[in-house]
Symmetry: C2
Amino acid sequence: MRYTDTHKEETHKKLLAIAAGALRQKGPEGLVVADLMKSAGLTHGGFYAHFKSKDALLTETLGEIFARVGRRWDRVMDGLPPLEALDAYIDFYLSPQHRDHPESGCPVVALNSDLPRQSRAFRKAFDAGVAAMRARIAQRAEEAGLSTPDDLAQAILSSMVGAVVLARSVCDAAMSDDILSSTRRDIHARLHAPAPSR
Amino acid sequence: MRYTDTHKEETHKKLLAIAAGALRQKGPEGLVVADLMKSAGLTHGGFYAHFKSKDALLTETLGEIFARVGRRWDRVMDGLPPLEALDAYIDFYLSPQHRDHPESGCPVVALNSDLPRQSRAFRKAFDAGVAAMRARIAQRAEEAGLSTPDDLAQAILSSMVGAVVLARSVCDAAMSDDILSSTRRDIHARLHAPAPSR
DNA sequence: TGTACATCAGTGAACGCGCGTTCACTGATGTAC
DNA sequence: TGTACATCAGTGAACGCGCGTTCACTGATGTAC
C-alpha cells in the first residue's frame, strides 16, 4: 500500500480535529466541506471516503467536541476539594479567554441557536453533552454538601451559559467584560452564601 | 396613483412584521428574501424597492423586534409593585410558551450564535437591545430596594437567557421543562432571600 | 525475478440547487395641456 | 373633454456565486503466479 496502515485513520482524526474548531467558530452552515478538506491539505472529493455526508461529519464532530471540553474541564477541577473545584470551573468558564476562543470552547454556547435546524442524531449528541455538563456540576455540589444539588447545578449552568452567550453576542467590549464579571461574582456569592430560607 | 398614499408604507410594515417572525424562527440565513416576499403576497423582485439589501432588512427588523418584545414585557409588569413585576417578568420569560414560540420571543435567545457573523449595524442594534433588557430589570430591582441592582440585573438576565437557550436547544422534552423550572425557582429564591453575607 | 492485476486514498471536473441581486418591463392611475 | 405622457409599486426572467455531492480517474504499492 501507498500509505501506512493507520494513514486513513489519522486523516480521519485530523479532519475531526479541524472540524471541531471550525464548527464552533463558524457554525454548521459556515463549516464548508471544501474548506475543511483544504485545511487538511486534501481536495474536496476525498471527503466522502471519510464521512457519509456533511451531517454525519457534524454529528461525529459534536461528540468529539463534548469529549474534548469535558476532559479539559475535568483537568481544571482535578485534585481540588468540591467547592474549590466548582469555583475553578466557574472562573474558567466565565473567563475572557473562553469568551474569546469559541473554537476551543463550550459547544452549547457556540451552537445553541442553530440546534433547532439540525438533524435528530446531532441533537441527541447535544442533549447527552448538556446532561453531562449538568451532572459534572451536580456531583461536586453534592460532595460539597449543598442542598438540592441537581437544581443548583442547573441554575449555575443556566447562568454560565447565558453569560457567555451574552458576552459573545455583544460587540461592546466593556459591556461584554461586565457581563462576565457580574455573573461570576453572583454565582460565587450564591455558592458560598447560606442557602436561601425557603 | 394606482395605490393609496400609504400603500407602500403599509407594505413595508407588513414585510417587517413577517420578517420579525421569520428572523427569530429561522435565523438570518434561513430568512430567504423570495420566501418573505411570497408570504407578503408579492414577488421577490419587488424587495429592493423597500430595502437596500437583505442586510438592511435584517438590521431594521432587529430594531423592530426589540421594540415589540420590549412593549410586551412592559405590559407584563405594568401596574405591579417592583418585586412582583420582576417575578411576573421572570415567569413570563421562563415559560414553556416563550420557549415554544421563538418567532415572537426574545431575540437574544433566538439569534445569539449568529451574531459574530452579522454586520456592524446589526450588532449595534443588538447591543442596544441587550442594554435595554438589563436596564428594565435593574430599574425594578432598584425600586425594590435590592442591593447592587445593576449587578443583580445582569445575573438574572444571564440566568434567564441561559435557561431559555438551553431549554430550546435540548430536544428531550422533560429535560427542557426541568431546565426552565429549576432556573425559575432559583431566581425567585434569590430575589426573595436575604442578600448574601458578602 | 518478472509481469499482470487488485487495492484504495485521494483528485478534480461536473452537476444541481438555492439564494441575493439586477433590470427591462407592466399596467393602473394621475397630470399637463 | 380628450389625448399624450409621467409615475411608480410590483413582476419575473436572468445572472453569478457558493456549496454539497457524485463519479470516472490516478498512481503508488501490494499480491498472485
